[in-house]
């Protein structure tokens, strides 16, 4: 979660300076870049890589305002989602809401950038993420058995953090982490299915943008 802000300078697959193939505007591997030297059209063509590294949409389909806003908001929303996750014990929030918030951050990126994850920020597939979430939740549920306690019991741990003193962590927080990961995975899966999946379907049906 700490990577997005710095990773725009990660280099390798940075934005194509040349415009992207206009026939297949949205993301997806295999789109080749072609030189389009028409000077008039390129006058106000956005060239900056405002979003994370990756391929940009066709310039005529970019919305700079949204991209700029997303660039600023995306990491912020993710941090906020982690806050919601942690604060769940004490106020409105919790794994479900936090996961939805994080998922909506990805929705925003998808709408602005045309791809769920343009730069390959998340190197995992949504289903894997969902599976990991479920495993974390179930492992949290079963872990007390190792200590001879009933399934799903919780305990309060005090984690020493020197400058702050001790921080209370209730073990059921890990259950919430599992829920959080699973919900993020569900939203990403939804984006994959209803977002890029439908786009691909429209392209293969010969219609679409």
């Amino acid at each position: 979660m700490s990577r997005p802000s710095g990773s725009s300078r990660r280099g390798a697959p940075a934005v194509d300076p040349a415009p992207v193939d206009p026939v297949l505007p949205s993301a997806g591997p295999g789109d080749g870049a072609s030189a389009d030297p028409a000077p008039f059209e390129s006058w106000d063509r956005p060239r900056g890589a405002w979003m994370l590294p990756g391929r940009c949409r066709h310039p005529t389909r970019r919305t700079l305002m949204l991209e700029m806003a997303t660039r600023a908001l995306f990491p912020t929303i993710l941090v906020f989602s982690v806050y919601l996750l942690c604060v769940g014990h004490y106020g409105p929030g919790g794994g479900f809401s936090a996961g939805l918030v994080a998922g909506l951050a990805f929705v925003l990126r998808y709408i602005a950038g045309g791809s769920v994850d343009p730069g390959g920020l998340l190197a995992v597939r949504p289903t894997t993420l969902m599976g990991v979430g479920l495993v974390v939740a179930v492992a949290t549920a079963l872990a007390p058995l190792l200590a001879g306690e009933p399934v799903l019991s919780s305990a309060k741990l005090v984690v020493p953090l020197p400058p702050l003193g001790g921080v209370d962590v209730v073990t059921s927080l890990f259950l919430d982490v599992g829920v959080y990961l699973l919900i993020v995975g569900v939203v990403l899966d939804l984006l994959r299915a209803l977002g890029s999946g439908i786009e691909r379907d429209m392209r293969s049906a010969g219609e679409g943008p």
């Binding site: 769940g88 919790g94 709408i111 479920l134 209730v170 919430d176 939804l190």
Partner: protein, 829 residues
């Protein structure tokens, strides 16, 4: 005993891995557990005959469920068949199966041996039932083999349908019986029934239902056709399942219940009448067969009828004869099947019109067959003769009308048995006039030795019949009318010049005469009026069920979303709606708790009204979103920030999802407005359903009179018990954490389902694929297959057009339902 059964199953699990490297070793290993079971049973034979060895493992004592096993005289006889012949057949399998078939067959045969062992040892009705159904499953897998040949598939399906149907009926009977007796222990039920403690209509009904299961399993009239059809299985499978063990399960159950129930007409009339009829029909039909295996199969049907009649009659002498015949049948029918396999292996055919002169080229095999067939025909001094003597004595000695009639039936049946025994030996080994000798190669010892051992045991036990006698008398001692020590009858080869001996001789002589007239008899037996064919009835029943399913599916699955919605909504109104509104009380509550509720409610109501009038999908989606946000606002006003947060987030996400989907949908709902006669009823249903749900919401929200103590406890425990100040959170991740895990699991499954629906089979692509798959010639072929082969069951058509079985089956399913391949009306374009 449970350990023995489990050892079979566990070892069966690892056999495929062994067979991949050493196919023959797999069979050798597989033969060990049955052999061990046999040794174990024989070592405990003394205790078993004295009273029985019992083991009970309580696995769910709270529900009164236990795995109870008991070894007594009858079980001992069955274990000898199941485990002894099982071990021999597995050895035979090492020589019979090709390496690539070895893993599957060795594992399944061993698993089957374990299941069958459990079945014959079970002393609990439900344990028995579980093993009973497992044998059907194992038989399905063994008969079906890889499922590549149509003959295997239809035979496997037929065997499964018939036996499982019987098993299901039997389950009803078992439950009735268990409830009437107050116990599910078989030994207790039988003892109770013998003491006269089980009477009345429910018990008679239960017996009739249980007998349906027994008769289907043992291929009795009119359920017998599945057994000859199952001959599509490899020969060792037939020898084991369809001669020695599985088909005896029904007979075994009859024998198991006979001590308690044999004196009731519903029990003995059914079993004796159907048994004798089956004996005659099976024997008669066997005379028309030209395939050696089918000949033996009809012979097995006939012999099973014989056994059913013996055990069903339930007199002590009949019981003795039954146990002896049970063993004798296993010991002569299994080697005959194994010999058939050897002949098949050596010559490549089982057709007795093409086999000639094998007696010269395969003398050892021929000797085995002659000995086994002689036992089947009832020639002294073999076990088959000894058993048949006892059977005839049982009914002749009754000196009643029933006894005379049954004895006459037995003589007729035995004559047919003798005739097809001769036919088998003649067909397989004789040199026929005008036929050239069939070329053959010598069978290996792995094939010959097991068959020889079985056949030799028939001779040994026929001479040393005291062993069988002890076991049989121990069983018969429990039968009604027994003087206590198992009747005054003993099995023996020589009883002196008695009426049974005369009848035996008569039967054999008649049988030989029938064989001499084989051409005429074969023609007559082969002529079967279609109205009397049980196979035809089965096919009609299956195709009738398929047609009914098609009609019902076609009627119910109209493919119209409004129709489905109307059905659902009317159901909601009719059942929960009416009862809630009629019995609930309208709560006393103000219109609004706070001023802020009023504008929010107005917004929600206006959005709802506008939604009805919306023509464009996009507008409708936005209005739905507005309603959701309005409800979220109401949550905030009522002081539920957690709920409101989740509501806002979910609402946003569903809005996004809707918008994504909208890209693929037309902009407006309908191109042309539907006529009033459609719109008005829809509006009425929608209004009524909406009002009902609203009324339910109000009534149910007022149903709680006092603050729930649970809520108070949650509030009290949250800070310390769950370490959370936020009660909602404490409930979700601590107090009701199991619910949470369940819910996220559901979410997980649903998300994967949605993703696979959208990504892997998009509507457009699926339609295109169906159209190419059913291009014209194929579609016509499919049609033709449907028409011709409909009765052969759901797998019948899969060969129709060449593709792999799984996809073609699916497409056939589509084609059978009228709405299948047609794009459903709800889909765009």
């Amino acid at each position: 005993m449970l350990g023995l059964v489990l050892a079979h199953l566990v070892l069966a699990g690892v056999l495929p891995a062994v067979a991949a490297r050493a196919p023959r070793a797999a069979f050798a290993i597989a033969a060990v557990p049955p052999a061990a079971a046999l040794v174990w049973a024989l070592r405990h034979a003394g205790e078993a005959l004295a009273g029985g060895v019992v083991q009970a493992v309580a696995w769910a004592p709270e529900l009164g469920l236990a795995l109870t096993f008991r070894l007594d005289a009858l079980s001992l006889a069955m274990v000898v068949l199941v485990s002894g012949i099982g071990a021999l057949v597995l050895v035979y399998g090492a020589g019979y199966f090709a390496p690539e078939q070895a893993g599957r067959n060795a594992a399944l045969l061993l698993a089957f041996a374990g299941i069958m062992l459990g079945l014959v040892l079970a002393d609990d009705l439900l344990t028995l039932y579980v093993f009973w159904e497992l044998t059907s499953v194992a038989s399905f897998l063994l008969v079906g083999q890889g499922g590549e040949a149509r003959g295997n598939r239809s035979a496997a399906v037929q065997a499964l349908l018939v036996t499982v149907l019987g098993g299901l009926v039997m389950l009803l009977g078992l439950v009735l019986l268990g409830e009437a007796a107050g116990t599910y222990r078989i030994s207790e039920i039988v003892a109770l029934a013998r003491a006269g403690g089980l009477d009345g209509a429910p018990v008679s009904g239960a017996l009739a239902l249980v007998l349906v299961g027994a008769l289907t399993k043992s291929a009795q009239l009119p359920f017998h056709p599945w057994l000859p059809a199952a001959m599509a299985a490899p020969t060792p499978v037939s020898a084991y399942l369809h001669a020695a063990s599985m088909v005896k399960a029904g007979v075994y159950l009859v024998a198991r219940l006979a001590p308690g129930f044999a004196d009731r007409p519903v029990f003995w009339v059914t079993t004796v009448a159907l048994g004798l009829a089956t004996m005659a029909v099976g024997g008669w039909r066997a005379l028309a067969q030209t395939d050696l295996k089918r000949l033996l199969a009809f012979g097995t049907v006939s012999q099973l009828g014989f056994l059913t009649a013996l055990f069903g009659a339930g007199t002590p002498v009949a019981g003795i004869a039954g146990v002896a015949m049970l063993l004798a049948h296993g010991l002569f029918k299994a080697p005959l099947f194994l010999v058939t396999g050897i002949v098949d292996h050596a010559t490549g055919t089982r057709d007795l019109r093409r086999l000639s002169g094998l007696g010269r080229s395969l003398p050892g095999t021929a000797l085995i067959a002659v000995v086994a067939a002689a036992s089947m025909a009832g020639l002294p001094p073999l076990l088959g003769f000894v058993a048949k003597e006892a059977a005839l004595e049982a009914f002749v000695g009754e000196h009643t009308v029933r006894g005379t009639l049954v004895a006459a039936g037995l003589v007729a049946g035995s004559a047919l048995t003798a005739a097809y025994s001769v036919r088998f030996v003649w067909g397989a080994f004789a040199r026929k006039p005008g036929a050239v000798d069939t070329p053959s190669h010598r069978p290996g010892p792995l094939l010959v030795v097991p068959a020889a051992v079985c056949a030799a045991l028939g001779v040994v036990l026929g001479l040393a019949n005291g062993v069988v006698d002890a076991d049989a008398r121990s069983y018969a001692a429990g039968l009604p009318g027994s003087p206590g020590d198992g009747a005054g009858y003993h099995l023996a080869v020589w009883h002196g010049f008695t009426l049974p001996l005369l009848l035996s001789a008569l039967a054999v002589g008649l049988g030989y005469a029938v064989h001499r007239a084989r051409d005429r008899v074969g023609r007559a037996a082969g002529r079967l009026s279609p109205g009397l064919s049980a196979q035809r009835v089965y096919e009609l029943a299956v195709s009738g069920v398929e047609r009914l399913a098609t009609v019902v599916t076609g009627q119910l699955q109209a493919g119209s979303v409004p129709t489905y919605l109307v059905v659902i909504l009317l159901a909601v109104v009719a059942l929960p709606g009416v009862s809630t509104v009629a019995t609930g009380t309208w709560p006393e509550q103000p219109v609004a708790h706070s001023v802020l509720q009023v504008p929010l409610a107005v917004v929600v109501l206006l959005a709802a009204l506008a939604l009805i009038l919306a023509q464009r999908r996009f507008a409708a989606v936005l209005l739905v979103g507005l309603i959701g946000y309005g409800v979220g606002g109401l949550f905030i006003v009522d002081g539920a920030p957690d709920l409101a947060l989740a509501q806002f987030l979910v609402e946003t996400l569903s809005l996004v999802a809707f918008v994504f989907v909208l890209r693929r949908l037309p902009a407006t709902f309908t191109d042309a407005p539907s006529p009033m006669r459609v719109q008005v009823p829809k509006a009425v249903v929608a209004t009524v359903a909406g009002c009902t749900v609203a009324a339910m919401a109000v009534v149910l929200s007022g149903a709680r009179r006092v603050p729930a103590t649970v809520s108070a406890e949650f509030v009290r425990l949250a800070p310390d018990g769950a370490g959370a100040d936020n009660v909602v959170s404490a409930i979700i991740i601590d107090f009701r954490a199991l619910d949470t895990i369940g819910e996220i699991t559901v979410l997980f499954v649903a998300a994967i389902g949605v993703a696979s629906l959208v990504l892997d089979a998009p509507a457009g692509r699926r339609r295109r694929r169906t159209r190419t798959a059913l291009s014209l010639p194929d579609a016509r072929a499919l049609d033709a297959v449907d028409r011709v082969d409909g009765p052969h069951g759901p797998v019948g058509a899969a060969d129709g057009h060449g593709g792999p079985a799984d996809t073609t089956d699916g497409e056939r399913g589509d084609a059978a339902v009228p709405t299948g391949p047609v794009p459903s009306r709800g889909e765009p374009r």
